[in-house]
Amino acid sequence: MIHFHPEKARAFAQDDARAHWHDKALWFVRVKRDRGAATVPEWERLREAAAGIKAHTLSRLAGYLEEFERNATANGMQVHWARDGEEHNRIVHGILERHGVTRMVKSKSMLTEECHLNPYLEARGIEVVDTDLGERIVQLAGEPPSHIVMPAIHRKKEEIGELFHEKLGTPAGLSDPTLLTEKARQHLREKFLGAQAGLTGVNFAIAETGGFVVVTNEGNADMGTTLPPVHVASMGIEKVIPRLADLGVFTRLLARSATGQPVSSYTTHFHAPLPGGELHVVIVDNGRSRMLADAHRRQALGCIRCGACLNTCPVYRRSGGYSYSYLIPGPIGSVLGGHRDLRGHASLPFASSLCGSCTDVCPVKVDLHHQLLVLRQEAGEQGLVPLGKRMGMKAASFAMARPGLFRAGGRMARWLLWAAPGLARIGPAGAWLRGRELPVPPRESFAELYDRETAGSGEDRS
C-alpha cells in the first residue's frame, strides 16, 4: 500500500482537463467557505469554542454517552451498542428483520460506509436506497463516494445523464442539472413512499436532552424519517456533545465550513420516535476508543465531517477522492485511516504538502498537518516508506549533519544544474520535474549571500 496514492493520483492527473476541472470545482467551494466565514465576526472564537467543547467531551466521553443513553431511553428511543462494524450491521439487520422490512431508505452516513452496511443488508434480501442525490448517483454507478459532502463531485453532468438513462430509463443525452435533479426527485419519491424503514447518520447527539440532530440540504433524511414508522440512526461514539446550547456553536460553523451556506436547509432535532413508530440509535465504537486512548490522536475524533479540509487541500483537489486508500479521502481521511491502520494506508501521510491549509480551515481546529507529520514519522519507524524515499532521506540527513559536505554538495548541484539541467530529470528525483519547469539555479547559496552581505557588519552566523 506504500505506492497507493502516488499511483492512483498519477492515473487521475493523466486526464489533464479533468484534473483541472476537479481542482476548480473544489476551489470554488473553498472560496464560498471563506465568504461564509467572513460574515461571522466571532468566527475564530467559535472555532476555539468548538475545539474546546470537543476536547472536553472526549475527555469524559463515557459519562456523556451514558447520560445520552439514559435521556434517549426516557424519550422513548431504543439505544444499542456495537463494538465494530459487523456488530452494527447485525443490530440494524435484526431491527429490519423484526419489522419485515424489504426496502430501507438511507440518508448520508459515512459510518455505514465504514461498516459496509449496504452489501450486508443486500446479501440478506433488503433493498437499500441511498437518497442523497450525490450518494444515489455513486450507488447507481457502483462506486463509493469520492467526497464526504459531495459524493459525486468527480462526475460530469453528461456522465450522470448517461447513468440515469441507463439505470432510470430517462431520455438519452440529458445534462442539465435541474432536469437531472427533477428526474432523481421523481425516482426517489417513489422509493421514499415505498420504504418501511429509514436510516440516517447523526451529526450531533446531545447528552443533556437525549436527542440527536441530522442536517441535510435536500430534505432526504426528513422524507426518510417522517414516512416509514421505523427509524434507525447510526452514530459513532464521538458524535455526542454535552448540551443543547452547544449546537449554537456547531450549527454556525458546520454549513459555512462545508459549502459556505449560513446553515443547511434542514436541521432536524429528534427527541422521540414517530407516534406509533420506533426509533433506534446504534452507538458504534469500531476502533474509536483505541484512538481516544492516545492524547494526540484523540483530537481527530473532534471532526464534524464538513469536508473543508478536502476542498482546500491542493493534493486532494488535484488527485481526486479515489486516490486515497481510506474510505474518507483528503487530510482528515489520511489522518483517520493512518491512525486506524498505518500499514494498510501507508501512502496517505505522504499525500500532503504539509502546507497546513487543512488545519487553518478546520472548524474544530484538528491539527491535521501535524498529525500527518507524526504519521510520517511512525511510517518511517515501521519501515513503511518506499526504498527510494528512505535512501533519499538518509542521504539528506547525513549531509545536513555535516556543514562542509552540505556546502560542497550545494556548490556541485548548482554547477551541475547550470551545466547540464537535463540530469535533474533522470532518476527518482525527476518526478519533481514532471509538469514543472526547472528554475535557473542561483549563483550562490543563501549562506554565501548572507556572509557577503553581512561581511564587516559585525554580525556572524554563530
Binding site: 470554488f28 460574515t39 465576526p41 467559535l46 469554542a49 467543547i53 472536553h56 472526549l58 475527555s59 469524559r60 463515557a62 454517552l65 451514558e66 424519550n75 451498542w81 456495537a82 463494538r83 456488530e87 437518497t131 442523497d132 442525490l133 450525490g134 448517483i137 459531495m150 460530469k156 453532468k157 442539472p177 435541474t178 437531472l180 435533479t181 426527485r185 419519491r189 437525549g210 440540504n217 435536500e218 430534505g219 432526504n220 426528513d222 422524507m223 417522517t226 461514539i237 446550547a245 449554537g248 450549527t251 454556525r252 451556506q261 449560513p262 446553515v263 436547509s265 434542514y266 436541521t267 432536524t268 427527541h271 422521540a272 407516534p275 465504537d285 483505541r290 481516544l292 486512548a293 484523540r298
Partner: protein, 194 residues
C-alpha cells in the same frame, strides 16, 4: 462482556485527562434583526414577505401563486386550508399535498432559518417536507440575531421533535450547480408578521 460495558470500559481505561468545557463566545449583533432575517431568507432561496398583521397575512397568501393550489394544509391559526390533517390517517396520503402553511416559533437573522416545534406540525411530521411548496409564518417579535440566541430561546419538549428550516429543499450535487427542490419543498415563502 456486552458491547456497552466493553465500550464504556475501554473509554474509561483510556484515562483521558479531564478538560474543562469552554465558555461560548458572545456573538456580535449585526444590524436590525428583522431586516437581516428577510435578506437571509432571500439568500437561502426563500421568498420573504413582511406583513403588518393577520389581515396582511391573509392578503399575502391570497396573492401567493403556491397558495392557490387545490390541496392546502394549514397549521397557522386563522388561516384556513383545504386538507383536514386530522382526518389523514397515514402520512403517505399526503403525497399529493400541494402546499402547507406552518407557524414558526423563531426566525434567525443570520441564516433565514425558522424554528418549527413538533407540535406546530400537527398529527404528521411529514407535513413540512412532503408538499410541493411551503409557507412559514413567524412573528417579527420572535426574530433573533443568531443560532446561539435561538438555542437560548427555542422550546423543545422531551420527548419531542423540532427543526430549523432555512429556505426550500436544495442540492448542488451535480457539478456544484444549485438546484432548488431536491426532495422537499420547491419553494419556501416566509411571512414575517408585525
Amino acid at each position: 462482556m456486552n458491547a456497552r460495558d466493553a465500550i464504556l470500559g475501554a473509554l474509561r481505561a483510556a484515562g483521558a485527562t479531564p478538560v474543562e468545557a469552554p465558555a461560548h463566545p458572545a456573538p456580535v449583533p449585526q444590524g436590525e434583526p428583522v431586516a437581516r432575517f428577510l435578506e437571509s431568507v432571500k439568500a437561502v432561496g426563500g421568498s420573504p414577505y413582511r406583513v403588518p398583521d393577520a389581515a396582511g397575512l391573509a392578503a399575502g397568501l391570497a396573492a401567493l401563486p403556491a397558495w392557490s393550489a387545490p390541496r392546502r394544509a394549514s397549521l397557522v391559526p386563522g388561516v384556513p386550508g383545504t386538507v383536514d390533517l386530522a382526518a389523514v390517517t397515514d402520512p403517505h396520503q399526503l403525497a399529493d399535498l400541494d402546499v402547507a402553511a406552518i407557524p414558526g416559533e423563531l426566525g434567525v437573522a443570520e441564516n433565514g432559518a425558522v424554528w418549527v416545534k413538533g407540535e406546530s406540525l400537527g398529527p404528521h411530521r411529514a407535513v413540512f417536507v412532503i408538499p410541493e411548496h411551503l409557507v412559514l409564518v413567524v412573528s417579527a417579535a420572535d426574530v433573533v440575531h443568531d443560532m446561539q440566541a435561538a438555542y437560548g430561546r427555542l422550546t423543545l419538549p422531551r420527548p419531542g421533535y423540532g427543526l430549523f428550516i432555512s429556505g426550500p429543499s436544495k442540492t448542488a450535487d451535480i457539478e456544484q450547480s444549485l438546484v432548488i427542490g431536491a426532495h422537499g419543498a420547491r419553494s419556501c415563502a416566509v411571512f414575517v408578521v408585525g
